[in-house]
C-alpha cells in the first residue's frame, strides 16, 4: 500500500515535471471556452461529448506519451528490480489519470454552470471510463517505441473506438456496436448529465464497462510482461 502510494505520488510528479499538466490545463481552458459560446439548449449535449473525449484523450495520448517518456529515461526496467509489482505499476498509472480526468471533468461542468442529474453517477462514469481508456492506452504504449508508431497506432485505435457512434448518428445501425465500451461510456455520461434513464440500461452499461476493464487489465498484464519485462536490461538504444 505504501509502495503504491509512493508510486502514485511519483507518477503525478513525473507528469508535472514533464509538462503534462500545463498541456492539460490548456486543453481544459479550450473546452471551457467552447462551452461558453454554446447556447444553453445544446450545452448539455456538447458537454457529454467534451467530458467523454476527456478521459479518452488522457487515457490515450497522455498514457502513451507518459510511457514513451519513461521508456526514454529507461526507468521502467529499474522499477521491476525493486519490490514494485506489475499490478502496482499499472494501478498507479490508472489512479494518477483518474485523478486528472475526474477533476478536469468536474471543473468543466462547474465552470460551465451545468447542473448534473446525478453527481455520483457522473463521477463513477468518469472513473470507469478513464480506467478503461488508460488501460487500453497502456496496451498500445508498451508496444511502441517511437513517436511515429505512437501516432499511427493511436489513430487506428481511435477510429475503432469511434466506430460505434455510427449507430448514434444513424449511419449504420447495429446492436453489435453496443458490445464495445464506447456507447456504454457515452450513455452513462449522458444519463448522469441529462437524466431520463432506464435503470436496466444503466446496469448493462456499467457491466459492459466493468467487463472491458477486466479484459483489458488482463491484456495489459500480458503485454506488459512480454514487451517490457522480457526486454529488461537489453542495452539496445531506442531512438525516440
Amino acid at each position: 500500500m505504501r509502495n503504491l502510494l509512493n508510486l502514485v505520488k511519483n507518477d503525478i510528479k513525473f507528469q508535472y515535471k514533464n509538462g503534462f499538466y500545463y498541456i492539460y490545463l490548456f486543453i481544459a481552458i479550450i473546452y471551457i471556452l467552447i462551452l461558453c459560446f454554446i447556447p444553453t439548449e445544446y450545452k448539455k449535449d456538447i458537454t457529454i461529448f467534451i467530458v467523454l473525449s476527456d478521459p479518452v484523450m488522457l487515457g490515450f495520448f497522455f498514457i502513451g506519451a507518459i510511457i514513451l517518456f519513461e521508456k526514454g529515461d529507461k526507468v521502467i526496467e529499474q522499477l521491476f528490480v525493486t519490490p514494485i509489482k506489475i499490478n502496482q505499476y499499472i494501478i498507479s498509472k490508472v489512479i494518477s489519470l483518474i485523478f486528472l480526468a475526474t477533476s478536469v471533468g468536474m471543473i468543466i461542468v462547474i465552470t460551465s454552470n451545468i447542473d448534473l442529474f446525478s453527481i455520483i453517477l457522473f463521477v463513477i462514469s468518469l472513473i470507469m471510463i478513464s480506467t478503461f481508456f488508460t488501460l487500453l492506452g497502456i496496451t498500445l504504449a508498451v508496444r511502441i517505441d517511437t513517436v511515429n508508431e505512437f501516432i499511427l497506432f493511436s489513430i487506428i485505435y481511435y477510429l475503432l473506438i469511434m466506430l460505434p457512434f455510427l449507430d448514434v448518428f444513424n449511419v449504420v445501425n447495429s446492436y453489435l456496436f453496443y458490445l464495445l465500451p464506447t456507447l456504454p461510456s457515452y450513455f452513462l455520461l449522458s444519463y448522469s448529465i441529462k437524466g431520463t434513464f432506464n435503470n436496466l440500461y444503466i446496469w448493462y452499461h456499467i457491466a459492459n464497462l466493468l467487463f472491458w476493464i477486466v479484459i483489458t487489465y488482463i491484456w495489459v498484464k500480458n503485454w506488459f510482461y512480454k514487451y517490457i519485462i522480457l526486454k529488461i536490461g537489453d542495452n539496445n538504444e531506442k531512438n525516440i
Partner: protein, 284 residues
C-alpha cells in the same frame, strides 16, 4: 549465495536455446565475473538470477531460496545496476534516489553518503539531464546500493568512465566485498575482471567453458618466459628465457653477471589471452 545448476533458457518465440546448460556457484562475499563477448548470454543469465525471466529449465537458488518461489521481498535484498543508466532525467540526483528509496519497506541507505561515495554530492541538486554520461553512470551505480543489498548485480560498471572514476568505482566494489556483499559482475573488460574478481566464468554462446580465479588462470595459461632488457655497449637490448630452466641456464647466468640489467619481467598471459585460448575466439 548463488547456485546455478544445469540452467537452460530459450526466449519465447526463439527456436534455439540462449543458455545451454550452465553451472556455477558464488559464495557469500565473493566477486564473480561473467565474461564473454556480445550476445554470449551474460545479461540473459543475470535476468534469470534476478527473477525476471521465468520458464527456464534447471535450478537457480539465491540465498538458499529457489528463484521460482521468490516474492517481491526478494528485491529488498538485491541491488541491480544495468549497463545503461535508468534515471528520471527531469529529476535531480537527489530526487531520483529519494524516489527509489521510497519503494523499499526496509530502512534505506543515507542518500548523501551514497552521493558522496561516487563524488556527486555537490551535484545533488542538478537535474540528471544536465549530467555527463559518466556522472549518470556513477549515479546509476550508487543507486544499486540504496537498499543495503546483500547481493549486487553490476553490468559493465566502469564502461564510459575516465580512469580516475573507474578507480573509484572499483574501490567501492572492493570495499563492499569486504563488508560481506556478494557481487555478480558482467563485463567484457578483462582488466576490470582481472583486478576485481575472485572467480571468473568464461561464457560463450550460452555455455560456460571455464570457472577459475584470474590469478590461477594467468599462471596456468602463462607463457612461462622471462624477458630481460640489459645494457650492452651503451645500447639497450633484450632477450627471453624459459622460466622453468633458469637455474641451469648458463647464458642467463652470464648475462646477469656481465651486464647492467635494465628491466626483468615474467611474461604473464593476460586474461584476454587466456579467454582466446580457452574458447578459441575473440572477446569483441
Amino acid at each position: 549465495m548463488i547456485q546455478v545448476k544445469n540452467l537452460y533458457y530459450t526466449y519465447p518465440g526463439n527456436k534455439d536455446e540462449t543458455i545451454k546448460g550452465i553451472n556455477f556457484r558464488i559464495k557469500k562475499g565473493e566477486i564473480f565475473g561473467l565474461l564473454g563477448p556480445n550476445g554470449a548470454g551474460k545479461s540473459t543469465t543475470q535476468k534469470i538470477i534476478i527473477g525476471i525471466l521465468k520458464k527456464y529449465r534447471g535450478s537457480v537458488k539465491v540465498s538458499e531460496i529457489d528463484i521460482k518461489d521468490i516474492t517481491s521481498s526478494f528485491y529488498e535484498e538485491i541491488g541491480v545496476a544495468f549497463e545503461t543508466p535508468n534515471l528520471f532525467n527531469k529529476y535531480t540526483a537527489e530526487e531520483n534516489l529519494l524516489f527509489f528509496a521510497s519503494l523499499y519497506n526496509k530502512e534505506t541507505e543515507d542518500i548523501n553518503s551514497l552521493l558522496n561515495m561516487v563524488g556527486l554530492i555537490k551535484d545533488k541538486k542538478t537535474r540528471v539531464s544536465e549530467y555527463s554520461k559518466g556522472m549518470k553512470m556513477r549515479l546509476n551505480f550508487c543507486r544499486a546500493f540504496i537498499n543495503n543489498p546483500s547481493i549486487v548485480f553490476l553490468d559493465e560498471p566502469t564502461s564510459g568512465l575516465d580512469p580516475v572514476n573507474a578507480r573509484k568505482i572499483k574501490d567501492i566494489i572492493q570495499k563492499k566485498k569486504e563488508e560481506g556483499v556478494t557481487v555478480f559482475l558482467s563485463t567484457h573488460d578483462m582488466y576490470v575482471a582481472d583486478e576485481l574478481c575472485d572467480k571468473v566464468g568464461f561464457i560463450e554462446e550460452g555455455d560456460i567453458d571455464l570457472i577459475e580465479s584470474p590469478s590461477k588462470l594467468k599462471l596456468d595459461y602463462g607463457l612461462k618466459k622471462v624477458k630481460i632488457e640489459y645494457e650492452k655497449n651503451k645500447k639497450v637490448e633484450f632477450i627471453e628465457f624459459d622460466l622453468n630452466s633458469l637455474k641451469n641456464n648458463e647464458k642467463f647466468i652470464n648475462l646477469i653477471n656481465q651486464y647492467k640489467i635494465v628491466t626483468m619481467h615474467t611474461e604473464e598471459a593476460t586474461l584476454e589471452e587466456v579467454f582466446i585460448k580457452v574458447t578459441g575466439r575473440n572477446l569483441y
